[in-house]
Symmetry: C2
Subunit: 247 residues, 2 copies
């Protein structure tokens, strides 16, 4: 699904381009949860025809970022406290299995891929999206690539597919909570220690570390999310300028 990794192939279709842009806008909060996605509004916003926009939105339903209501258009998927908790639990569970299998089956190339991914991550500064969106996307790419590299050798494409799905969905919550880099200053160390445990094939420790890694982020989010998602009942502005209207 979400083909985050590839980027520089020539001749990308409008649809794929829109898919990426809209996805990023949803994840980063440019399009708020629950927001109605009017086709005309999007056409103006992204400068494209209705067909590729619809197609991109259809693809995004697969990632759980967009909801499609028959004859009633599209809207940005809602977020909720409970869903995040579920997501987190599910991810920990999948991760454990994937990681153990990868450590069991992984060979030299796997190890080396981890080393590379970890190096790249360490060399890519973490930049808040409102400072530089491009730089932030760079970091995100490296971050996902690193975590992916750990489980890549698990031997089951099916498992990896689900893993990736949940990664993306959980990722969105990070942005919604607007976690700044300062709230996790030692995150690079955590990554390093995880990588070391994995490379040393210390399965129990690796699992423990990575679950703690996820959970710690989760704790931060749980305290931050309510503030970010509750304001909905009380509409901020009397004018409906928070929906994506065309004129």
């Amino acid at each position: 699904m979400a083909n985050t990794a590839y980027s520089n192939d020539i001749a990308r279709s409008r649809t794929s381009d829109l898919y990426d842009r809209i996805r990023d806008d949803i994840i980063q909060g440019g399009l708020a949860p629950g927001c109605k996605l009017k086709i005309d509004g999007l056409r103006e916003r992204y400068g494209a025809g209705g067909t590729p926009i619809r197609e991109a939105l259809s693809l995004l339903t697969a990632d759980g970022l967009v909801e499609r209501l028959d004859q009633r258009g599209f809207r940005v998927a809602e977020v909720s406290d409970e869903e995040f908790v579920e997501l987190l639990a599910m991810r920990c569970w999948l991760e454990e299995r994937a990681l153990r299998q990868a450590m069991h089956k992984g060979g030299k190339e796997w190890e080396e891929a981890i080393v590379v991914a970890r190096y790249r991550l360490s060399r890519t500064p973490r930049v808040p999206p409102d400072v530089s969106q491009a730089a932030n996307l760079d970091y995100e790419r490296c971050h996902k690539a690193f975590h992916w590299s750990l489980v890549a050798a698990c031997g089951s494409n099916t498992l990896l597919r689900l893993w990736s799905q949940l990664y993306n969905e959980a990722n969105r919550y990070r942005y919604i909570a607007r976690l700044s880099p300062f709230e996790r200053p030692y995150i690079a160390d955590e990554h390093d220690r995880i990588a070391e445990a994995v490379l040393a094939r210390e399965a129990d420790r690796a699992v423990e570390l990575i679950v703690a890694h996820y959970t710690r982020t989760g704790q931060l989010l749980k305290t931050t999310i309510p503030a970010a998602i509750e304001p909905k009942p009380a509409p901020t502005l009397p004018t409906d300028e928070d929906e994506l209207t065309s004129s």
Copy 2:
């Protein structure tokens, strides 16, 4: 995702209609694995414009039934022995968790829903798709509803979503292998015993039974699939009438 359950709401869009029809055609083998899905061909076949077809295909990528190649159109997703094995393993694993949680959290309504689903399943005859497609779809609906009812109370929508995804994908293999009802004559008994174990809250036994249930189908498939998917390297006809061509 795959909204199998609903069917008789008024005012369905062309896209949703096509989604269902194409999905059924892929699952039931009317559109062979790997088959190129030319838009013009589909337009003629289903009598619809290109836009809703594209949209339906985009939605189907979420179910893993269709593959989208940028600038190169759509094709029916391939099937493989390995993928099926992965799928099966993954499903057993998810099922165990879902089932245990459901048995832990489920209340009276959950139990009663199982009883109803089981009754409906027992009253719906299993009909091969080539005898009556409609009757077969009825059975499929009941079958999924029954299995769904067992895990429905697991408390995690995320888990249920993944469960449903994998159910649909695995389902496809049943059709590919063309398992006839005769090869599993006692399947109704299996369902009954599973339901009983679940309702009696005997977790270990329930898990054992349902995993055996899945695995037994899997065994049958593994012996049948190779015959069904191998013929590809040797094209049956010199004319390319096996692809979906327009003229």
